[in-house]
Symmetry: C2
Subunit: 168 residues, 2 copies
C-alpha cells in the first residue's frame, strides 16, 4: 500500500471521530508558525497545536523568504497576531555552503539553475536573519511579536533565540 | 500568556515523553505532503502522520508553485518517492477573483504590488493545475506518484481528485 493510500485509509476512521470546523474564523490561538518541513517536527505532538489553533506554514528550512505571501494572507484575511519562526538542529539545509547542496542536485542530473536553495551555515544566525527579513517586509504586520525558536530533534526541546543578539 | 509562551510551556512536558530522532534519515513513509496552512488541517490528527513519517510543506492554499524548492530538496537530499497535494473546502484563497483578495490588503493599507496571491476559484481545478505544474518542473522527479486530494473541513474527510479529469 502506498503512503497516500495509507493516509486515505487512516482518514476513513477519523471522519467518525472528529467533527470538522466549518467556520473560516481566525485560528483560536491567533498564531502563525513558520517551520521546517522536517519529518521529525510534528506540531500537534511537540507544540500542542490542535485542530483550529494556528496557521502552519512549512518549507525546507522554515525560511521566511518563502513564507511572506502566506504570512500576509494569514494576517490580512484571518487576523493572526503572533508569529513563531522555528528552525531545527540537524537540518538538511544546514550546510557548509549552498554549493555543497547544489552538488547533490547535479549528482542526480538536476541543474538547480538560478534557484536559491536558502541553505544556511549557522542555526542562530538563520533565525535572526529570518526575523530581520520579516521586519523589513512592508507586506507584514510590524506591530506584533515575531519570535525565533530552535527545535532540537534529538531531545524534542523547543527553545527561544534571543532576538537581542541580532546586532552581534 | 502569549500563544508562543503557551507552546514553549507545552513543549517542556513533551521533552520527557518523546525521545527525539537524531538521524537525518529519509522520512519513514518516503512521502512529501503539500497542504494548505489552514488551522483546521492537522496532519497528525487527520492523516495519521507521526514523528518521522513525512515531509510536510504548507503554505496559503497548499500551492505547488511555492513548494518546488522544498519538494526538490525533499527528493534529492532525503529520498521521498510519493507526493500528496492537499487543498481544502472553504479555503481563504478560494475567491471569486484575485482582485477580491487584493482589495482586503488595500483596505488594510497594504499594497500587495506584484505579489501573486495564488488564489483560485475552483477547488478541483486548482489541484489539477498544481499537479500539471509539478509535472512540468525539471527540478522534480517525474517517475513517482503525485496525487491530488481534497480535505473537507466540515467533515474531516479526505478524498482523491481524479487526475484523469485534467484533460476535461
Amino acid at each position: 500500500m502506498s503512503a497516500i493510500d495509507d493516509m486515505l485509509h487512516f482518514n476513513k476512521g477519523v471522519v467518525r471521530l472528529y467533527p470538522g470546523i466549518e467556520s473560516k474564523a481566525p485560528p483560536r490561538k491567533r498564531l502563525a508558525i513558520v517551520a521546517c518541513m522536517d519529518a521529525r517536527i510534528v506540531p500537534a505532538t511537540h507544540l500542542g497545536i490542535q485542530v483550529g489553533d494556528a496557521h502552519i506554514i512549512r518549507n525546507a528550512g522554515g525560511r521566511v523568504a518563502e513564507a511572506i505571501r502566506s504570512l500576509a494572507l494569514s494576517q490580512v484575511l484571518l487576523g493572526t497576531e503572533e508569529v513563531a519562526v522555528i528552525h531545527h538542529t540537524d537540518c538538511g539545509l544546514l550546510a557548509p555552503s549552498e554549493d555543497a547542496v547544489r552538488a547533490a542536485f547535479l549528482a542526480r542530473g538536476i541543474d538547480p539553475g538560478g534557484l536559491d536553495l536558502l541553505t544556511f551555515s549557522d542555526l542562530d544566525r538563520s533565525l535572526l536573519d529570518d526575523i530581520a527579513l520579516y521586519r523589513s517586509s512592508p507586506l507584514l504586520r510590524q506591530d506584533i511579536p515575531v519570535r525565533g525558536l530552535i527545535f532540537d530533534v534529538a531531545t524534542s526541546r523547543l527553545s527561544e533565540v534571543d532576538a537581542g543578539a541580532l546586532g552581534r
